[in-house]
């Protein structure tokens, strides 16, 4: 379980001059950055800095106007999101995007999709092996529910959970795909202090299991406490990069957040 600091060459994800334009508005301006394997990478920046746009460019929801994202040597840009997910990237959404009428367990079971095979004919005609696979999906899903501590809510409709638990459920669903890179988009948004602390522990635990985490967050306490490196975006550009300590002392960052003096 113990992780040794990754050697500098072992990058998990590389962004190469990603540029995104919407009409006359430039949302991202030539973002280049490499995320080392096995760390918690924080991404911060004021509202509208382009954090979610960057996420969407990496996960295939948006196609950057220029530039590309490369994951473990594979170019992501141009691939549809479901193929990117199968490569081992999983994500949560800024605005909760659960399947709200499905149960908590079913939501996590859906996360097992890339790890199972049965199609229409196999499931409809109950091919041999199909029930076994279904059982396996259920067991693995329960395992991830246990991991995040939602096992008691397994049979509730996901939409009936309070927001804090919905956010955790999204993490569990993303984990169920067994990602090597997990992208979390403001997971602490709407959580109270205790929930946020628990979430921080959970994220560290996930990282401890060898998953690289890319974390967009507004909660400064959380991000400063758990991330090893931070990327600061501002008006679509890279403003600063470094360790939490360096970022805290960076006058430009202070200025971006509090405004110019």
């Amino acid at each position: 379980m113990n992780t040794s600091p990754p050697p500098p060459s072992s990058t998990c994800l590389t962004m190469e001059e990603i540029h995104m334009q919407f009409g006359g508005v430039t949302a991202l301006r030539n973002i280049s950055y490499a995320i080392p394997r096995g760390i918690i990478q924080g991404v911060i920046g004021p509202n509208g800095a382009g954090k979610s746009t960057l996420f969407n460019c990496i996960t295939g929801v948006l196609h950057p106007t220029m530039g590309r994202a490369v994951y473990e040597g594979v170019v992501l840009t141009g691939k549809p999101p479901h193929k990117i997910a199968r490569l081992g990237l999983s994500r949560t959404f800024q605005h909760v995007a659960l399947f709200s009428s499905m149960t908590v367990l079913e939501n996590v079971m859906l996360g097992r999709h890339p790890k199972s095979k049965a199609g229409f004919w196999a499931t409809g005609l109950r091919f041999p092996g199909m029930p076994g696979e279904e059982k396996d999906i259920r067991e693995r899903a329960l395992h991830f529910l246990n991991f995040v501590g939602l096992e008691r809510e397994a049979n509730h409709p996901a939409g009936s959970l309070p927001l804090g638990k919905q956010k955790i459920l999204e993490v569990a669903r993303a984990l169920a795909t067994e990602p090597k890179l997990l992208l979390l988009d403001e997971p602490a948004g709407g959580l109270n202090m205790r929930e946020t602390e628990n979430l921080g522990e959970l994220i560290q635990e996930i990282c401890g299991q060898g998953v690289t985490v890319m974390l967009v967050e507004h909660d400064m306490n959380l991000i400063m406490e758990i991330s090893q490196r931070i990327l600061v975006l501002h008006y679509g550009e890279t403003l600063a990069t470094g360790t939490p300590r360096e970022i805290k002392d960076n006058p430009q960052v202070i200025e971006a957040y509090l405004g110019e003096g």
């Binding site: 929801v61 859906l110 049965a118 199609g119 409809g124």
Partner: protein, 327 residues
């Protein structure tokens, strides 16, 4: 399938099984068996449409066309090529599935109104072809001389036999769909309906699933069409026009989109209405249909099945095939 679903399945199968024994002794309702043969055929179409619309959330106003492709495939292959009806049926189903696949790849990239219009347009085109290719289809006056179905060398004449045959198909179709729904495929379909972006992000190839469930619905409609052809022994294009596509939509809506049982209930109810109860309205029939559709869409968007738990003492219908929440 969950325990509840099994119970409903068995109870329904039992009710369907004894239905003829109950109505046949009474002259005034003995022809209900015949009505129920049609209801079963339409139920088969509706089960497929429910998979597409209720679960995967994709609209189609072209089901009558696939119903017709099955019907005319069976008709043409048996009349012009003297093929065995049982062999013609899967050929029709394959053809309908193939056409749905060809249409579905571009069409299912569209959403909402655009998809509705594209399927509507396709349905009308198919109907025009049925009317125009007189050499094969007999044109507007129809195709005659279609043989019946036979089992073990004996043709099925008795409508009771037809009744059990058709409803046998319905229950097989239901079983197939229930298995699909309670699996990773079913979850993926429901996920596409609720949050397509999230489903895609979890590795569900949403485009492929949408096309596949469209093909499935076309195959169901086509098999129903084949059964219809052999039962009627005569077909003409007016049974497969736009009005019928809307009828299927209506059946699924009235019964309840998010439930396979709703599809069956809607098909049975609407078939009886059409054949038995709405005749009093004569020419105003279509207004009644329109009003019914409007009332259901406005006030009972989850269909009659959603009202059943309130009527029945047990909560048996709750969460069986019915989904709790719908947007």
């Amino acid at each position: 399938m969950s325990k509840k679903d099994w119970w409903i399945f068995l109870v329904t199968a039992f009710l369907i099984g004894v239905f003829p024994l109950v109505v046949q002794p009474f002259r005034s309702v003995s022809h209900y068996v015949d009505v129920m043969v049609f209801a079963g055929i339409f139920a088969l179409v509706c089960i497929g449409l429910s998979m597409l619309m209720g679960y995967a959330g994709q609209i189609s106003i072209a089901q009558a066309a696939f119903f017709g492709i099955g019907a005319y495939s069976s008709g043409i292959l048996t009349v012009h090529f003297h093929m065995n009806p049982w062999a013609a049926m899967p050929v029709g189903a394959a053809l309908a599935g193939f056409v749905a696949w060809l249409l579905g790849i571009p069409a299912l990239r569209l959403k909402g109104h655009y998809l509705a219009m594209a399927t509507l347009g396709f349905g009308v085109i198919v109907n025009i072809i049925m009317n125009e290719e007189v050499k094969w289809t007999g044109g507007p006056s129809g195709l005659v001389g279609i043989p019946g179905l036979s089992i073990g060398g004996r043709e099925i004449f008795h409508e009771l036999a037809w009744y059990y045959l058709v409803w046998g198909f319905v229950f097989m179709g239901l079983l197939f769909c229930f298995h699909v729904l309670h699996s990773r495929v079913g979850r993926a379909l429901r996920a596409i309906h609720e949050e397509e972006a999230a489903a895609e992000a979890m590795g569900v190839p949403t485009a492929r699933y949408k096309v596949q469930v469209f093909v499935l619905s076309a195959i169901f409609a086509s098999i129903a069409g084949s059964l219809y052809t052999h039962y009627m022994a005569f077909i003409n294009p007016s049974s497969f026009n736009l009005e019928w596509s809307i009828q299927f939509l209506l059946m699924v809506m009235v019964g309840g989109m998010q439930s396979l049982w709703g599809a069956v209930l809607g098909a049975v109810l609407m078939t009886f209405m059409r054949n038995e109860w709405l005749h009093v309205f004569a020419d105003q029939e279509i207004i009644v249909y329109g009003a019914l559709l409007l009332i259901v869409a406005l006030f009972v968007p989850k269909g009659l099945v959603s009202l059943l738990p309130r009527l029945l003492p047990s909560r048996i219908f709750k969460s069986s095939g019915t989904r709790e929440d719908e947007s």
